[in-house]
């Protein structure tokens, strides 16, 4: 999924660059949050990539805008949970049919990771709504 272009024409200064980049990347994540609710492999993957872009932007700019640090840390936890789910999706796709017990375990772990990601995203989403960058 290609990232949206950040419109930086006529920006007045660095703080405006930060604001436009963060808002654009946040809009992308919100637009793809339905994928997290659907819990399907592709939806989770797209949401994970978009949230990674947002996290990188927040981490890069937190030296200029320290208020971004808390959101970046929460996104890192969200990334971990989504990464765990993704790794299990990849392995489940190639697991031989004779490995039913392992498959059930991986499936259970996958659902636990998605549950965790949903909880983290709900908390983060509210946090972002209340913050300057929301």
């Amino acid at each position: 999924m290609k990232p949206h272009r950040v419109d930086l024409r006529d920006v007045a200064g660095l703080h405006e660059v930060v604001e436009r980049v963060v808002k654009t990347r946040l809009r992308e994540v919100r637009a793809l949050a339905a994928g997290l609710e659907r819990r399907d492999r592709q939806g989770l993957h797209d949401f994970r990539i978009a949230s990674k872009r947002l996290r990188y932007a927040l981490e890069r700019f937190e030296a200029l805008e320290p208020s971004l640090q808390a959101a970046a840390e929460r996104l890192a936890s969200l990334q971990d949970a989504l990464g765990e789910a993704h790794d299990r999706d990849v392995l489940l796709a190639i697991l031989p049919p004779a490995m039913g017990a392992t498959q059930r375990r991986l499936q259970r772990e996958r659902e636990e990771s998605v549950d965790q990601a949903v909880g983290l995203w709900n908390a983060l989403s509210s946090y972002l709504n209340d913050s300057l960058i929301g």
Binding site: D7, L8, V17, R25, R60, L64, D87, P96, A101, T102
Partner: protein, 120 residues
């Protein structure tokens, strides 16, 4: 926008350093570093493309990332399978474990070959 120029320079150097370290002595950790620094740099260039267009550099970074995908996938999946396989299914898992180990070794060699030619 001195800050932006400096950040681009630093992230470029970080990727180039990670690339050279991986080529000198390939390892799981060093491959991870190449991929992470590459993703961060790519994300920066995409974010500020209006101010600092770098299409050719972006293409090189994307190609390098693609060249390392298979090695990273094989490593991650192999480690996960090694720690997840149910005790009663160890035998059934063996062919897949063997295949993933082969894939990991081959894909790491191919990633190294590609990164030897790449420059950031």
């Amino acid at each position: 926008m001195k800050w932006l120029a400096k950040t681009i320079r630093e992230e470029r150097r970080a990727l180039e350093r990670a690339r050279r370290r991986f080529i000198r002595k390939p390892s799981e950790k060093r491959l991870h570093d190449v991929r992470t620094t590459g993703r961060r740099f790519r994300s920066l260039l995409e974010d500020v493309a209006d101010l600092a267009p770098a299409k050719r550099l972006l293409s090189r970074i994307k190609r390098a990332a693609a060249a390392t995908d298979a090695a990273r996938d094989a490593t991650i999946i192999l480690r996960l399978l090694e720690r997840s396989v149910d005790a009663i299914e160890v035998e059934a898992a063996q062919p897949l474990l063997d295949e993933l180990r082969k894939q990991e070794a081959l894909a790491t060699r191919l990633a190294r070959t590609h990164l030897q030619r790449a420059r950031f």
